[in-house]
């Protein structure tokens, strides 16, 4: 018998598992695949909390500002490599080079320094998939119009065979390479050579310090977060180095996933990845057992409490048919808007607000009823109803706050 079982191993599920384990609970996380963090940029958006907490039914309104703040503080306590402050957003670069706002940002991704730069060098790792240096350069020239943008190609010998054999090198492959012993040494050399060249070329430049004030390097395919070796290498460079967010699979998202798993396991939690929950058994208002599709046969796990963190439509927590939508594990009632879509592609899409309605303790509710359906089931993350991560930019905030809260009250 477990104290708690979390179904879903993404951001909110793992945060819930970590918080509960930290409080001494025996926790099991069951996850169909590796969760969607590999797809994510790895930065956390909280959105306009002041406004969203007043929006009827929004998860922020339900949980309250204190909980949202607690979620943010907890995450930063777990991962000091993430920087940011309450409602004081920072800038990060999208994979195409546009700056965008974000609240919690891993070391290295903060692009604020580019605003003052007179000279920006964009590193172009040779043969990197989904990386378009000319497009990025054009974008940077428009956004940072005072700066001179230069593309600086970097070829890594270790990838020569990859290029010659036509194998794609993703940003994740580069990021992993820089983290290797050999890669870190190579990175140090490349950056040493580059800063030297930049110092020579900048007319009348005197000290490295001055240079640092007006020059910056953008380095895609590099993720120094959680790597002390890489952070050490970058600290020695006299110029600021700005990383970029990436298209999936994203190194920053993946390294965060690894860090969350490590933390959870170090606290004694167990992670079962690769199989989904087939069936859930209830008795009255309590859930007591989940049945997992393991190889050859079903395996049952019983617990005192359950946390449902299976995600929304993309994550697989909600299954949508031509006419209906269902919660995929427990068959919980969903809030489904009357009109699902809007003809304006990038406009508000009502289906985004599909999800499970909950009480302030995150227990699922039936439509129009304030009495929880189950006493020991809590809903976290994308599966919650009445929020739109794309319009409200609050995906990280809702996941961290609800994950923390569920773990806290388990």
């Amino acid at each position: 018998m477990w104290d708690g079982i979390v179904i879903g191993g993404g951001l909110s599920g793992l945060i819930a598992g970590i918080r509960a384990s930290e409080k001494g609970k025996r926790m099991l996380v069951i996850s169909e695949g590796v969760g969607s963090l590999t797809y994510s940029s790895g930065v956390m958006d909280f959105g306009d909390v002041e406004r969203l907490k007043e929006e009827k039914n929004h998860p922020y309104a339900l949980m309250g500002e204190t909980v949202v703040r607690a979620g943010m503080e907890y995450f930063q306590r777990l991962f000091p490599d993430y920087q940011g402050a309450w409602q004081n957003s920072q800038q990060v670069l999208t994979p195409l080079g546009s700056p965008r706002e974000a609240d919690l940002v891993p070391t290295g991704l903060n692009a604020g320094v580019l605003q003052k730069a007179k000279e920006i060098v964009l590193i172009a790792p040779e043969g990197m998939k989904d990386f378009f240096p000319e497009v990025i350069k054009a974008k940077l020239e428009r956004v940072y119009s005072k700066a001179k943008i230069e593309i600086y190609p970097v070829a890594v010998e270790a990838f020569d065979i990859w290029r010659n054999s036509g194998k794609l090198i993703t940003g994740m492959d580069y990021a992993k390479y820089w983290r290797s012993d050999q890669g870190a040494v190579n990175l140090k050399n490349i950056l040493g050579k580059l800063t030297e060249e930049m110092a020579c070329s900048s007319s009348g430049a005197t000290s490295g310090e001055k240079q640092g004030e007006k020059s910056a390097i953008i380095f895609p395919g590099l993720a120094a977060c959680f790597s002390n070796v890489l952070k050490g290498v970058l600290e020695e460079v006299p110029l600021p180095i700005v990383e970029m967010t990436a298209f999936p699979p994203s190194a920053s998202g993946q390294f965060l996933y690894e860090a969350l798993k490590q933390k959870f396991k170090a606290l004694g939690g167990e992670l079962l990845v690769g199989t989904g929950v087939k069936k859930v058994e209830f008795q009255g208002k309590r859930c007591h057992t989940v049945i997992v599709k393991s190889k050859g046969k079903d395996v049952t796990f019983s617990a005192q409490s359950f946390i449902l963190a299976t995600g929304g439509i993309f994550g697989g927590g909600i299954q949508v048919g031509p006419k209906d939508a269902n919660e995929s594990v427990m068959g919980l009632p969903l809030y489904v808007p009357a009109q699902w879509t809007n003809s304006e592609f990038l406009g508000e899409q009502p289906y985004a607000k599909m999800g499970v309605e909950v009480d302030p303790e995150l227990r699922p509710l039936a439509a129009g009823n304030q009495e929880p359906l189950f006493d020991n089931v809590r809903i976290v993350g994308r599966l919650l109803a009445h929020w739109d991560p794309w319009l409200d930019h609050c995906g990280g905030g809702v996941s961290l706050a609800s994950g923390w809260l569920a773990g806290e009250i388990l």
Binding site: D173, G268, E270, L271, V273, K295, K297
Partner: protein, 407 residues
Amino acid sequence: MDLKQDNVKNLDACIKCSACTALCPVAAVNPLFPGPKSVGPDAERFRLEGIEMDIKCLNYCSNCKTCEVTCPSGVRITSMILGARERAKQSKHSDGKTLQHRFRDLVLGRAEYLGRLGTIWPSMTNTVLSISLMRVLMEQILGLSRHAPLPSYHTKFKPQGSFVQSDKQVVYFPGCFAKYNDAQTAQAVVKVLEHNGYQVIVPNFHCCGVPLQANGYFSRGRENAKKNLALMEPYLKAGLPVITSCTSCGLALKEEYPELAAAGAEYIGQQTYDLFEFLWELHERGELREDFQSVPVSLGYHAPCHLKTQGIGTPSVRLLRLIPGVQIQDLDAGCCGLSGSYGFKEEKYDIAMQIGKPLYQSVQQGVAEGRFQTMTTECGGCQVQIQHGSGVKTEHPVWYLIRAYDL
């Protein structure tokens, strides 16, 4: 055929997110392997139209199944790759192997015959295998890397001692590694089960078939499986559980045996248990003997790939934590690299060592920092490879139960 329909369904489930390739241990270190997405679902579309890709690419897959565990959409990527390999083997196209490698794979696939041979005079076998000139010759003649940590042979496992007579019975499937290379561990498994009041039945099983399949001998692998099923069938019909202590044998029994058209196939998946999965169920039912003595030891744990694929979590970690004094942490540092016999091959030895490097480093670091003293993992191959790569002693977790029970 239904199979084709399934493939089509699986192909549509793949949303091309590349998570499998990003986490594939082989693709990360081998520039010639495009990754599971490319040789799996991507190439499958062409294969369904009769267009085959370079078969050498398929042979780089180590069958660790990390891609299947990773896939957020449940696509059976490794099965697709193995299926393509088998069809390629049957077709008239060359399988891209040299004659030497074909002969080597014929040998490596036959863990059972090697075991029988090696255990005729184990000390002699081990002496011969430890001569470096011999290893150089084996590399040149057989394509077996001279650096590879070939396991040593011991007296063949024969269930011995006082047979407990009980109405509680289990069948034990030791697997070739325990049978020929590590009979003491097989004996330890029997002792632990007997200590819990079970009579342990060990028919004279053949190799489970995984090494044959991994080396390209698919139909011979299935023949072995059918022979084993025939040996098990009466016990399966009587409702007896089949216990494995090797995670690859366990996975084969659970995943592949049920797909065979043979008597007993309908029961085998349902009735196969990993040793610790079985013991944990006993614990949950209150039937496990828990008169444990304190075992003051701190362990690093490595979850074998084929245990992860079973979808039962890590029951050995759970169970060892019940023993007073045992500290155990799951390192979660990826595949050890060996993948059965993959890392023994001369052209793949370096790849295997690179795959396992993060794990070896994590093991060495953990020991150096005093976080744990020694390693434990269920898989015999992983044990050999972790010891080889990190120099840290690695044993099957059953040995801590033996100490806790004072057997």
